[in-house]
Symmetry: C2
């Protein structure tokens, strides 16, 4: 759990996250929809899930050739901002027949 | 890589996958959009990504309290069918202002 002094959950800044997401676009798209077959869609996932995965990559609990490297350089604030941005993207779905 | 004899990639059966996905609905929704804060959206992810994650959970390379248990019981065919179903769900997004 990303917290600030006093144990409060670190609030993410969505617009800061949009800017920080520029490094993610090649694989995850400008809109959070994957552009690479081994990369997931990020759009509309919960902040908790996104924070948990980025933290897991940073801590080495989850591994991926690119993500393990990228996540190493992320601060708690970066993670909170990125999660705020991607979770704010609205997703609608259409089930196949 | 899920393959059949002769090394050909195991083709997934989307409608079989829809049926098998009934056990996933509580967390991942009927439409592949997460209903639990710690569960990701599955809708529209690539077959490769979905297969890779389910295989990683089954092999213990990736861990999650529920997924590690659920994935243990999945056959290669189950994984291919589930991936075929969720990847066939069409996703559209709307970026926040």
């Amino acid at each position: 759990m990303l917290t600030v002094a006093g144990g409060q959950a670190l609030a993410g800044d969505r617009s800061a996250g949009k800017g920080k997401a520029r490094v993610c676009v090649a694989c995850h798209g400008v809109d959070g929809l994957s552009r690479m077959p081994d990369a997931p869609n990020l759009a509309g996932n919960s902040e908790l899930y996104l924070r948990t995965q980025l933290t897991a990559y940073r801590a080495g609990e989850r591994q991926h050739p690119q993500m393990s490297i990228i996540a190493k350089g992320l601060s708690d604030e970066d993670i909170a901002d990125l999660a705020a941005w991607y979770s704010a993207i609205k997703v609608t779905v259409e089930l196949p027949d």
